[in-house]
């Protein structure tokens, strides 16, 4: 199971990759393996306002359907349209071609992205998946 060191994570098994104030979001390799083959992904609309910890879409696999949560506060600037034609990209490349949406994150007083304080590091996330069995 892969947990890239440079990403941020949530307990809901999403990852966040931050470039400036643009945050790319997807679900983790662990989540994709737990779900099994992903058959449908419902993503937030372009321009939608999303809030950390709030549902903003759905990930449907052969055996289950799960809410997709936004890990950050901000505005949706881009969604991965490739997933509509090929949702299996989520299983094949959860951290690359299987990304889901991008958010322009609100800035703090220094002009940096204001990320929620409770995002996990790679080490913390790995620990969480281990304790989940």
């Amino acid at each position: 199971m892969s947990v890239p060191a440079e990403l941020h994570y949530t307990p809901e098994h999403e990852w966040v990759s931050l470039e400036g104030t643009s945050a790319s979001v997807g679900i983790t390799d662990y989540a994709a393996q737990q779900l099994g083959d992903v058959v449908y992904v419902s993503l937030p609309a372009l321009g939608a306002t999303v809030a950390a910890g709030e549902p903003c879409g759905e990930v449907e696999s052969v055996k289950s359907v799960s809410d997709l949560y936004s890990p950050v506060d901000g505005e949706v600037t881009e969604v991965n349209a490739e997933l509509e034609g090929d949702p299996s990209l989520v299983n094949a490349e959860p951290y690359a071609a299987g990304w889901m949406f991008r958010v322009r994150v609100a800035q703090d007083g220094n002009g940096d992205a204001a990320l929620p304080a409770d995002l996990l590091s790679a080490a913390e996330y790995e620990e969480l998946t281990k304790s989940a069995g």
Binding site: G36, V39, Y40, E60, V62, K63, V65, P87
Partner: protein, 353 residues
């Protein structure tokens, strides 16, 4: 892995879609040791089963298998079963894991007064299935059947024989739950790992892959086979599920549920099992409503993507015959959205024979 009726079961080994397609195109290897095995033996074993079940098991020749059901007095389905006649006085009843205790209890009660012994032998058997068009070719080099001159490839569908697989004693049957040709190998639990390893090695060049519960569910759904807890349960009779043929009213003697089942057969089913294809990638899942022109007309019992058809499929109980819905605008309510659906004949998939 997942917990299922007290067993730790493999939900999938890799991609369940790949496992499904391997069974349709080559073969899959399944560990089904959770299934219940109940031995019914003795001079009256056939008569006791005729009384306890909907089928006429006494009329089955040794070495044959039959799909049948056990019903309550009110006609409700307690379980669907495969029964093997292993000898003149030896029957082996295969029950769903979650129903084994219920079936064992009912068989024990119903066999009272007959010269027949009912034993829950679940712990004495492991069950490994090889399913798919390549199954016979994979199993044949490893199987030696006891009946003189019986070659595996010549075994009839829904037949079985004692013998050995990879040198270990087994009951080998040409049965399964995938809609493909295939075999089920009942061995001692201690021999299961050896049998599994030998089959996996024999099949590795023929496209055999291990397959889990998830693929088993989509395979049986495409084949239109009911699953207890979804299409079958105590609130339906075999007639609602379109399986009235398993009720043998013309067999001699009484059987449990006869009166209620005869009344249901005369009155017609209270609900109608139908097949649906879904006009979206979304899955119509168990419990979702089926709508005709916007009004609820039924409930989905099972739904999944169909790897063979390339669209989601579902089975549903409708409150009226499917034929009466011709021309209606059908949909399934998927978490608040009405997604178009189309009636289709069951099964969704039949193998070429």
């Amino acid at each position: 892995m997942t917990s299922f009726a007290g067993w730790q079961m493999p939900l999938r080994y890799g991609s369940e879609t790949a496992e499904h397609l391997a069974v349709r195109r080559a073969a899959g290897l399944f560990d089904l040791s959770h299934m219940g095995e109940i031995a019914v033996t003795g001079p009256d074993a056939g008569a006791a089963l005729d009384y306890a079940l909907t089928g006429q098991l006494s009329a089955m020749a040794p070495g044959r298998a039959r799909y049948t059901m056990i019903c309550a007095e009110d006609g409700g389905v307690l379980d669907d079963l495969v029964v093997y006649r292993q000898g003149e006085q030896e029957f082996l009843v295969i029950a769903n894991a979650s129903n084994t205790a219920t079936v064992f209890g009912a068989l024990t009660d119903r066999a009272a007064g007959y010269d027949a012994a009912v034993v829950d032998s679940t712990q004495d058997y492991a069950l490994i299935a090889v399913q798919g068009p390549a199954a016979a070719g994979i199993l044949a080099p490893l199987a030696r059947l006891a009946p003189a001159g019986l070659e595996l490839g010549a075994m009839k569908y829904y037949a079985g024989a004692f013998g050995t697989v990879a040198g270990r004693e087994a009951w080998v049957a040409r049965t399964g739950y995938t809609g493909e040709d295939g075999f089920e190998v009942y061995s001692r639990p201690d021999d299961a790992e050896h049998v599994w390893t030998a089959l996996a090695a024999e099949g590795s060049g023929a496209g055999l892959v291990p397959a889990g519960l998830a693929a088993r569910d989509t395979l049986r759904l495409e084949a239109g086979m009911p699953l207890y807890g979804n299409e079958l349960g105590p609130d339906v009779t075999p007639f609602e599920a379109g399986l009235g043929r398993v009720v043998k009213f013309d067999k001699p003697g009484e059987f449990v549920g006869r009166e209620a089942l005869a009344a249901r057969a005369a009155a017609g089913p209270s609900r109608h099992l139908a097949g649906l294809t879904i006009g979206s990638r979304r899955i119509a899942r168990h419990g979702y409503p089926v709508l005709a022109d916007g009004r609820t007309c039924g409930t989905v019992t099972s739904g999944a993507p169909s790897p063979t058809l390339g669209v989601p499929i579902a089975m549903a109980y409708l409150d009226r015959p499917a034929a009466s819905l011709a021309g209606a605008d059908l949909s399934v309510g998927i978490r608040g959205e009405a997604v178009p659906a189309h009636l289709t004949d069951l099964p969704f998939y039949s193998r070429r024979r």
